[in-house]
């Protein structure tokens, strides 16, 4: 009687092992890229090839996906992969040895944390804060005061993320003690909860509201309370030292040069 379940669980275990092995094999196959980044001279014009893994602040998700397409069109040998998340979480991953080729952070504190892994960071964009509300603004939010009102269901980014630090600076300027119902790990998860209507309001970046204009509306933040977010980008050294790859430098140069109209179109300030 105990044979049946035993055999079944053995079969199940076999299945689990097979799935794990397949997944590991797949990720290994995808991981053979580090050595691919190289510059080869053909017909005099150097053609850069290789994969660039870009660790980018969550608020850059959409615009960096567009810029990645531009770079890949201009450099057919280059493959850009954007990994978006909270700047501080990404910085910690880089410190822990994550294979980032480029790091773009939403504030200087996050960039400083990766120390010598980042090579000569440059400021490439600025952003401002906006109050995101669900389409139609059902709770009638008019200004930052809503964030001090316990009757409203408001959210902020956690203060571990740049958007959370900027939002708190802004609220402090406005003299408001916030009473959020949630502190989200990064700006996009905050935006998602406003878009779903579960939050009455959240403090995000102007560019986030623009990117999600079908599901959220923006209420402007008063000029006096506004905080300017500064974005920095740097090619990064491999975890074991050495120099950034040529493909990484191509991507960074594109963001600082030909990619500027794309950043501007997404609502970023470009220096």
């Amino acid at each position: 009687m105990s044979d049946g379940p035993g055999a079944r669980s053995c079969a199940l275990l076999g299945l689990v092992v097979a799935v794990v092995v397949a997944a590991v094999a797949a990720s290994c196959a995808g991981g053979g890229r580090g050595d691919a980044a190289s510059t080869s001279a053909s017909n005099g014009a150097p053609a850069v090839t290789g994969t660039v893994v870009v660790f980018a602040a969550s608020s850059l998700t959409d615009v960096f996906t567009q810029i990645a397409d531009e770079v890949e069109r201009a450099h057919p040998g280059v493959d850009v992969q954007v990994n978006a998340g909270s700047s501080s979480a990404l910085a910690q991953q880089i410190v822990d040895g994550a294979p980032a080729a480029v790091f773009a952070s939403a504030d200087r504190a996050a960039m400083d944390r990766i120390g010598s892994r980042g090579v000569a960071p440059s400021a490439f964009a600025t952003n401002e804060l906006a109050i995101a509300v669900p389409t139609g603004n059902p709770a009638g939010v008019t200004d930052l005061a809503a964030f001090g009102d316990p009757a409203r269901r408001t959210g902020l980014c956690a203060s571990t993320a740049p958007c959370g630090r900027y939002a708190r600076q802004s609220l402090e300027r406005a003299g408001i003690t916030p009473v959020p119902v949630t502190e989200e790990p990064d700006v996009r998860s905050l935006l998602a909860k406003v878009a779903s209507g579960d939050l009455d309001a959240g403090i995000v970046y102007v560019t986030d509201v623009r990117a999600a204009s079908t599901t959220v509306d923006a209420v402007p933040v008063d000029g006096d309370d506004q905080v300017r977010a500064q974005y920095l980008i740097a090619p990064t050294r491999p975890p074991d030292g050495g120099r950034p790859t040529a493909a990484a430098i191509v991507f960074v140069d594109w963001v600082l040069g030909p990619g500027r109209p794309t950043l501007r179109a997404a609502g970023f300030g470009v220096p």
Partner: protein, 276 residues
Amino acid sequence: MSASSGTAEGAGTRARRPPVAIAVLAAIGAVFLCLPIVALVVGAPWSRLVEVVTSPVVRDALVLSLGTSTVAAALSVVFGVPLAWVLARTEFVGRAVLRGVVALPIVLPPVVGGVALLAALGRRGVLGGFLESRFGVVLPFSTAGVVVAQTFVAMPFLVVTVEAALRTRRAGDEDAAVVLGASRWRTFREVTLPATAPAIVAGVVLAWARALGEFGATVTFAGNLQGRTQTLPLAIYLGLDVDAGAATVMSLVLVAVSLAVLIGLRSRWLPELVRR
């Protein structure tokens, strides 16, 4: 080919010595499972243990985690045991489908569970709008929401465990009780429940441990706020960004709690399960 060698006793000992391939694979498996825990223990900043554990963030998260996971485990028993009984003992159309859907959260990515819970119980959800307008109850971003998320991912473990126990036991004892004049409720209470008690306890432990470790569904459905919805796994995840040492210490707390429960219950209950 080695028929001539040794007695039956010798053959028995040899059969119990694993072939080299099995031994090597088993060793790799064991190291794979043990190494991360050992690394966590070795790498932890032990000198900061007291400071971290008594900090307000960790204290709040620990209290919240213990409270919500216990309530989630209790809810899993209250609704899960009857559900397991219905699935194991009754016949109805769609039972196989129901059994599959009920077990789904075990394999479902927890984040998907959180999104599904928002779709059902969020303010614009199927049921959530009604709950808010009729009763003023808003589950997302509340401690009750944490319990809901944990119960959603934990209860299936209890249902599956208890249902398996019920199905491997034949209904003979219950039939006898009914023939002897016991009501169906009394039969359930006095025959079925005691006989499945070890499975229920094992299911509760699994469900509680799963609830204690819940992250994805909680952060998606209930958000993150210290003292209200920030459970220990959420505090660890967010703490990792700013203070990896503190996050390691918090992880140790979870390891210790989980281990204590496993050891404490194993000696009392699991042997009975294994013997059966």
